[in-house]
Symmetry: C2
Subunit: 315 residues, 2 copies
Amino acid sequence: MQAVVIQEGKLQIVERDAPVPGPDEVVVAVRAAGINAADLLQLQGIYPAPPGWPVDIPGLEMAGIVSAVGRDVHEALLGRRVCAVVGGGAQATHCLVPAEHLTFVPEQVGWSEAGGFAEAFTTAHDGLVTQAGLREGERVLVSGASGGVGTAAVQIANRLGAHITAVTRSDVHHEALRALGADETITLGEVAGIGHVDVVLELVGAAHLALAQKVLAPFARVVIIGVGGGSRMDLDLLNLMATRATLTGSTLRSRSRQEKAEVIARVNEELVPLWASDQLRVPLAQTFELADAAAAYEHFARPGKFGKIVLLVEQ
Amino acid sequence: MQAVVIQEGKLQIVERDAPVPGPDEVVVAVRAAGINAADLLQLQGIYPAPPGWPVDIPGLEMAGIVSAVGRDVHEALLGRRVCAVVGGGAQATHCLVPAEHLTFVPEQVGWSEAGGFAEAFTTAHDGLVTQAGLREGERVLVSGASGGVGTAAVQIANRLGAHITAVTRSDVHHEALRALGADETITLGEVAGIGHVDVVLELVGAAHLALAQKVLAPFARVVIIGVGGGSRMDLDLLNLMATRATLTGSTLRSRSRQEKAEVIARVNEELVPLWASDQLRVPLAQTFELADAAAAYEHFARPGKFGKIVLLVEQ
């Protein structure tokens, strides 16, 4: 198979042996694989792959067709269109996935969109619903709303019936965010003026949360998922006591296989029906061929894009 | 009645009309009233009493004898020995308490100890058990362990079967903390070396928590209750994400009457039986007469004491 490989801090396209599925795994012939912030951190050498996953092939999500199944996996999975979050190795022509981590891609959805669904929507759903317990009628603040997780979060929060304030760096994304379901779109400098929020989905980090901590409602829940805008913040402990707010951080990547299976089961149950009926979509900033992965990463690192960057894979 | 009153930033002893109980309230003839950090903040003008409580009479806890009951309160309460957490007004000869906020003081417990029980043990129990969900066999770090809440927390955590690391500023309190149930006693500078903890009960604030954040176990729970050692901290968001730890802050004082009743019901159910069988005690640093409240506050503000400072009230 062909794979994107990190060699001495650079991305190369390399020929590798195709993976062989373990008893409860499948191999997916990849058609599209999204890029995520964790890939850039891995390229920089500061966010290694978790144990048991390819150490030098990046990629946390992909979509494609099941091309081989392990001994204990039902053969009916062969040929099915699937997508999945993985611990690594997605940016290749073939990718190993635990069978219980698969999501079936709805018929009408194209590969590029399918390749950018799993990580963003799983992360956003886990953060908003499972971690923060966002409920109908509550107010939620989503920072970094123009990115992959942000555009997923705006849609999920809207379908839950929450009031959404979306924060974006770019002046040009306000209309697109409102089209996805944001009730209010602001820039970072306007956070202080929005009134209290019940939930903060923090996708930017210190630069945003230092401001957002001042608009927490009583019993607010803050879930920290991204720290591209700084990972050290000046936290006001008295304010945390007065509001009785809760801060927690989370990554999908570090979770056990069983934990991931539970998270994905909720996505399959609660989000895939909405995706299948066109109530969710994956906004695509740009697609690149697998061979152009280096250019795709460079594009990903630049601000100002809206939605996902996805690598397309020829089979 | 006589009351400690805050006048222009100073404590005075003043004659006031005795309170009259509302339909579901009682009046307690106070025999002892503990001093808490919140009293000092109120004296400094930065922590006003919550709505519905005396605005200028400090005191969050007391013990005494029920001397009057409201229309809807059973007369059998008259003459009973009780203690309670209140929103304010405890440092006086008479104090109003919602009837459902009372705790019955065990027969063998003296007034000075009873006057220092309610706030410390209720705060510690709510923080460790209700907020942090501390379980048998877990490791807990208690900062400010020599104070009222700290000495209560060490005892409660020990009775729960947790492993306790107690942090104290003073070199002379280690043995006393171990006698209460601490497995390990350290000073602030030694926090980095203790290994991972599942729960942090933060009674000091930024000065301690900046160090403690580096020893959090996966899924650690941090409950912030005191910030005398600084209320602004440099929080490491990446560490919070990697450990999937949770930070929350809490005060008893700001809670609704119903919320307080629920907290106190748990104390009555889970702690009072231990108190009645001499398995919990209130370490007393020093007692003062009500008339010497100013001197007692000064003593409270100084470091190095062990346990509670309690005002004794003549009737």
